[in-house]
């Protein structure tokens, strides 16, 4: 496929119409506006409507159930605090759910357009796709745990959905290649990083330490996504020669990426975060410890089964699934 940066017939610029451009340049002088004023006049209308707006674009729903109304969160965080938390959780849930679809779109493009030196591998895209889905389920679990309704489109979710419309358009446009779509996903990952960071603060601020620890793990993996996406973009630019000689740091990153794969570095970070979270937690009793260990083992094995079957490794999946059953029996 022809590259978009290959010179072609772009007709948008004035210079593309040498015969008519001179006539167009007369227009500025010929114009006698029918009323005086400045660009700010248009903003006046917007401001007046903002002042007169009868209602915001949406509000939070009433507590979804008796359970939510009676929940510790609602009691402890009477008033706005609880709804702010649920609003923001709803925002991340929707963003991660949409993000899962965006990475599905990227995978489809990967298969058509292929990658570039230092660009994403299919395994990397698949992993981020899984992460996004896991994060969606994680936040869904948070909301349910707080007794709220995860199917609600909260106002903040709506704002982010509107803001992300262009990202969806780029990734779903078959004429825009993988490299161009990665530029779009970079916008999503930048926002995602900031929003997870805010969510961690919010969870800590409302006393949900355990949820905050889990959110922090998600934030770590989102940081890794952003690092990868930045590297892919830098590598794409570097591969054109437009950046001049490749920066040593980037060359190093790309070499590492080829040798070990960013999977490993991400896992290390996750393990570190988990260890930190565990250290923070209060010392459990013997029984609790045993139960917790069983739970963790089960979770790990199930997740291995899931990822193995997603990768098409049936034997490994069967093995992992059998050992998951064993753990359940235990």
């Amino acid at each position: 496929m022809k590259s978009t940066t290959t010179p072609g017939l772009n007709r948008t610029g004035l210079a593309a119409s040498p015969q008519d451009a001179g006539k167009m340049l007369e227009v500025t002088e010929l114009t006698r506006p029918s009323s005086p004023g400045l660009a700010e006049d248009a903003l006046v209308t917007r401001q007046l409507y903002a002042k007169e707006a009868p209602a915001p674009h949406g509000t939070m729903p009433p507590p979804a159930s008796l359970k939510e109304a009676a929940s510790v969160t609602f009691k402890a965080l009477a008033g706005q605090k609880a709804t702010v938390l649920i609003d923001k959780l709803g925002e991340r849930l929707a963003f991660e759910r949409a993000g899962t679809r965006l990475y599905e779109g990227l995978l489809a493009k990967f298969d058509v357009f292929g990658t570039w030196d230092g660009g994403p591998t299919r395994a990397q895209l698949e992993r981020i796709h899984r992460d996004e889905h896991d994060h969606f389920l994680l936040v869904k679990g948070f909301i349910e745990r707080l007794g709220s309704d995860p199917t609600t489109v909260t106002p903040s979710a709506n704002v982010h959905a509107v803001a992300s419309m262009g990202i969806v358009k780029v990734i779903s446009d078959p004429r825009m290649n993988l490299q161009e779509s990665i530029e779009a996903i970079a916008v999503a990952e930048l926002a995602d990083n900031d929003c997870w960071s805010n969510l961690v603060q919010l969870l800590r601020g409302t006393g949900h330490e355990e949820l905050a620890d889990q959110a922090e793990e998600a934030l770590e993996s989102e940081r890794d996504h952003l690092r990868l996406v930045r590297d892919w973009i830098a590598a794409a630019l570097a591969s054109t020669g437009a950046l001049g000689p490749m920066r040593p740091a980037l060359r190093r990153t790309l070499r590492q990426g080829k040798r070990a794969g960013p999977n490993q570095s991400m896992r290390k970070q996750l393990q570190g975060a988990k260890a930190k979270a565990k250290a923070k937690a209060a010392k459990p009793t013997g029984k609790q410890l045993q139960a917790k260990q069983k739970g963790t083992a089960r979770k790990t094995v199930i997740s291995r089964a899931k990822s193995a079957s997603a990768g098409g490794k049936k034997k490994v999946a069967r093995r992992a699934s059998a050992s998951a059953k064993q753990v359940r029996r235990r």
Binding site: K23, S34, A42
Partner: protein, 403 residues
């Protein structure tokens, strides 16, 4: 290809078929396609929409024709789909709007220059100056809301200048009606012109009514409401040019001939070979549809179609810039106003004209088209390039808030 309106059979109706893949072709490139390709896509989408509109209205009063009309409409709906789906997804509704106004300017300018009837030519020039102003207002919106240059869409073919100010285009409905041509005396081209321009304006109205509420900026929502209202005025104006005494079947035959004429123009001027092939295919389809209309007309009305249509197609729409014609018309006729079915200088519009009260009331809480373009001049690369490094103060904003 020389078209014979009396004898050509075109593609048989039962062979005018599509698959979903065909109906959703790869779009043209917003950046690379010639602006006149977009103009043709917008116009022909409107022509097919009007074909459906006419046949639905006919079906309401012709039970016997319903089966045939249903079959024709299905094909026309699919033709419209294929054409409309040529618009690219990265072209936003405001950008497509700029294309709609370019259609209204360049196509109407071609029609106005070739129209044999002097009164109708005057009507087209009158409407042209109003659509010309719409391009300027939407251009200002595009610059001031999105920070983009409208000339990237119109590609220097069309001036972006004020015309007859939109704020004074609002007229009492009876001042939008015009005298019609005489169905027995009018030149065939006169009939085709009236049908084509009415169809184009109808689609413009429907498009603005659909996309207007999709804007979040209240100024944009107001502007679309205001200009959609004028597009309805334009439909009223152009629709009244056709002789209301024409029979339904007569109107149908003329409409099919008009579609043939439009596709022939597209074939003659299209520079994109892939899209030209679509126009050629649809020209054959239209000839097939015209053959059916001719036969039905002759069977039902027992009249010879030669009394309605010329054997050969008249001159097609001239798809090129008409800058000098438009500038000359602007200089000469911008101050004309409609008084009933006639045009007079603004100084001669009587104080008793119902348009005064109608317009004053509509504009009494502010004029969206004046607000959006207050002090605006098209400048290459947007007006921000002419403002220098320091933005102007926000005195107007504060003033507005105090109101």
């Amino acid at each position: 290809m020389s078209v014979d309106l009396w004898r050509d059979k075109g593609t048989q109706l039962d062979r005018q078929r599509f698959t979903w893949k065909e109906l959703t072709p790869a779009p043209y490139s917003k950046l690379n396609a010639d602006a006149f390709t977009r103009v043709r896509v917008i116009l022909m989408n409107g022509i097919e929409a009007d074909a459906l509109r006419l046949k639905h209205a006919m079906a309401k009063v012709h039970r016997d024709l319903q089966p045939l009309l249903a079959q024709l409409r299905r094909v026309e709906q699919h033709q419209q789909t294929l054409i409309n789906w040529l618009h690219p997804p990265d072209q936003n509704p405001l950008e497509t709007t700029l294309g709609f106004e370019q259609v209204a300017i360049e196509v109407t300018a071609s029609v106005a220059q070739r129209e044999p009837d002097q009164y109708l030519a005057q009507v087209y020039r009158f409407g042209l100056l109003e659509d010309f102003d719409h391009l300027y207002r939407f251009g200002a919106l595009y610059d001031r809301m999105e920070g983009k240059d409208p000339n990237t869409i119109t590609q220097s073919y069309t001036d972006i200048l004020p015309g007859r100010p939109t704020s004074i285009e609002h007229r009492h409905p009876t001042d939008d009606l015009r005298l019609s041509y005489d169905r027995f005396a009018a030149h065939p081209l006169t009939k085709l012109h009236a049908l084509a321009i009415t169809a184009a304006e109808f689609q413009t109205h429907d498009y603005y009514m659909t996309i207007g509420p999709m804007f979040s900026d209240p100024g944009a929502r107001q502007l679309y409401a205001e200009i959609a209202s004028i597009e309805e005025q334009h439909v009223t104006q152009y629709e009244s040019l056709s002789d209301a005494e024409e029979t339904w079947l007569e109107k149908w035959v003329l409409h099919e001939a008009m579609e043939v004429w439009c596709y022939q123009g597209c074939v003659a001027y299209e520079t994109d070979p892939r899209i030209k092939a679509i126009w050629e295919r649809f020209l054959d389809y239209e000839l097939g549809q015209l053959a059916l209309a001719r036969k039905t007309f002759e069977d039902v009305e027992k009249r010879d179609v030669q009394t309605l249509l010329p054997e050969r197609l008249p001159e097609v729409i001239d798809y090129r810039e008409h800058r000098e014609f438009v500038r000359a018309t602007l200089n000469r006729e911008v101050d004309l106003r409609a008084h009933g079915t006639q045009f007079v200088d603004k100084a001669e519009l009587p104080a008793s004209s119902p348009t005064h009260a109608y317009r004053e009331h509509l504009n009494s809480e502010g004029s969206p088209s004046e607000t959006v373009a207050a002090g605006w001049r098209w400048t290459p690369g947007t007006e921000l390039t002419a403002l220098g490094a320091t933005p102007k103060g926000n005195g107007q904003v504060k003033k507005g808030l105090k109101q």
